[in-house]
């Protein structure tokens, strides 16, 4: 029982990173009705870019590496937007989908080349801190990860609901044509969406690196799948859904790992997805039913 609760708590804390990735997918879907398949890879790529700082400044503190990853994420997000969504007409959804897959492959390969395929260790903060709450341990580094993600989500919500850009973004996600007719530059909004989700993704990637301790390009595949699962479970286009689903998946995944081991763990996460697809295909927070 103790193990179970410990697993859940660790999993939920880590799940905050999945929540961020899920938010990234779901926000792009909400605004542009497209899936950016390169998102998780870009997030990991940004985390790697954070490591570049250490090349330049050997003794840089971890938080600086995280900040670097954060910024790199935004840049990568913008690049993905340019390569996949700016020029390709949106009336060719298959083409945009394929091009994001191409970007996914490209980013992964760049990382592999840059690191010669060797996993890189990632700085962590507070990894030596252990808080004890009765019989349970709360790892300091996981708490930091959770905290950082929560702050990021709060900032995102503030951006969406308190700023003009956020307002424009919400307008475009509901009625792109009408938004354009109101003078909103849809292309700019789309680009900014990618930059913002990219920033979040870079942060998520850094946090994943920090809690796992190493980064490897092999992370992007499973992360893409898990991120998409989180998005679907939470409801495509719903940010609160992605948050809840991310924590849920994180918790479940850890529990599955406790009882069935690492190799089978992902299989059960798939099953979780299928359960949702059967019983609640719209996701936890399904979009309101429309008129026609």
């Amino acid at each position: 029982m103790l193990d179970f609760v410990q697993a859940v708590s660790d999993g939920v804390l880590f799940g905050a990173t999945y929540a961020l990735i899920g938010i990234g997918f779901t926000l792009v879907f909400g605004v542009m009705h497209k899936i950016n398949m390169a998102y998780a890879a870009a997030s990991i790529g940004a985390a790697y870019a954070g490591l570049l700082l250490l090349q330049v400044m050997a003794g840089a503190p971890p938080w600086a590496v995280f900040a670097c990853a954060f910024l790199a994420g935004g840049l990568l997000g913008w690049l993905v937007y340019l390569a996949c969504f700016h020029f390709i007409p949106l009336s060719h959804p298959l083409a945009t989908l394929m091009s994001t897959v191409g970007m996914l492959l490209l980013i992964d390969e760049v990382v592999v080349h840059a690191t010669d395929g060797m996993p890189q260790s990632y700085p962590a903060m507070f990894d030596d801190v252990m808080l004890h709450a009765g019989e349970f341990t709360l790892r300091g580094d996981l708490l930091l990860v959770f905290g950082v993600c929560v702050v990021a989500m709060a900032c995102l919500l503030a951006l969406l609901y308190r700023t003009r850009l956020g307002l424009a973004t919400r307008a475009v996600s509901q009625q792109p044509v009408a938004a354009q007719l109101c003078g909103i530059q849809v292309a700019r909004v789309n680009a900014m969406t990618f930059v913002v989700t990219g920033l979040l993704g870079g942060l998520a990637g850094a946090m994943i690196g920090a809690s796992v301790g190493t980064l490897s390009p092999l992370l992007s595949g499973p992360l893409t799948v898990k991120g998409l699962i989180v998005t679907v479970i939470g409801g495509l286009g719903s940010i609160p859904g992605a948050i809840v689903a991310g924590l849920l998946v994180g918790g479940f995944e850890n529990v599955f790992q406790l009882y069935r081991g690492v190799t089978e763990r992902d299989l059960y996460v798939m099953l979780l997805l299928f359960v949702f697809l059967v019983f609640r295909p719209g996701g936890i927070f399904a979009a309101r039913a429309g008129r026609d």
Partner: protein, 249 residues
């Protein structure tokens, strides 16, 4: 032929159609009019089965339609055209009609295995005839998206006819037409009645409605506010009020 009793369709809080009673006699041309948002298109969607009913029943030739899926209703003999044309743009004119041949007669003719693969000769003749009737024979191998607007409208109608319907629901077929085109449409609708098809005409364009229907029902806010012969409807003050001085015939 078609009987609606207490038909109701809600979308969340919106009552698109509310307790509608309607009887469309066999062989008639029945008009359904009303201001925008009065529930006309929803009525069509509910009769064809695209939306389930919130309440009420629909009977077609004595049979309750219940949860029967759309494609099965077509096979029973209910076909429709769409307000905004929904042709298969990338398919040719011929293919648009070919795909629509799903009436029991055509399915039987095709046989169990042959059904998926080719068409029998008489099915081909049917398509050729429909193309003649619609004046589209010369465009048979063109992609539907390349047709002019008027031609697309004619193809939309021809496609509905390819299914050999007994009841045809026309959803605003005259939208965007000039007087000459409306007159041609009127002739085609009357010709369809000659063929034994019952017609439910949803329309805004009074020129067409008044000139071709036997009986009209008027909807407003999902409810029927009047029903009668065209002349009666034109004179009805409730109708006038609903339209706020709308199109005159």
């Amino acid at each position: 032929m078609l009987e609606l009793k207490g038909v109701t369709r809600h979308f969340g809080g919106v009552r698109a159609v509310d307790g509608l009673d309607l009887v469309v006699p066999e062989g008639s041309i029945f008009g359904l009019i009303g201001p925008n948002g009065s529930g006309k298109s929803t009525t069509v969607n509910v009769v064809t089965g695209l939306f389930p009913l919130t309440a009420g029943t629909i009977r077609f030739r004595g049979e309750t339609l219940d949860d029967l899926p759309t494609h099965r209703r077509l096979q029973k003999g209910i076909a429709r055209t769409f307000q905004n044309i929904r042709l298969f743009g990338r398919l040719t004119v011929w293919q648009n009609l070919w795909v629509a041949q799903n009436s029991p007669e055509d399915r039987a003719r095709r046989g169990f295995i042959a059904r998926w693969l080719g068409g029998s000769r008489s099915a081909r003749d049917e398509i050729a005839q429909l193309l003649e009737f619609s004046g589209l024979a010369h465009k048979a191998d063109e992609p539907a998206a390349s047709l002019s607007f008027g031609e697309q409208r004619r193809l939309e109608l021809a496609r509905a006819l390819a299914a050999r319907p007994k009841l045809l629901l026309l959803d605003e077929p005259a939208a965007g037409m000039n007087s000459e085109e409306i007159a041609q449409l009127r002739e085609r609708i009357l010709a369809l009645r000659e063929r034994g098809i019952t017609i439910l005409l949803i329309e805004h364009v009074m020129e067409l409605v008044m000139g071709v229907t036997d009986r009209i029902a008027v909807l407003n806010f999902g409810q029927k506010i009047a029903e009668g012969a065209p002349a009666e409807i034109q004179a009805d003050p409730a109708v006038r009020k609903a339209y706020l001085g709308g199109d005159s015939a």
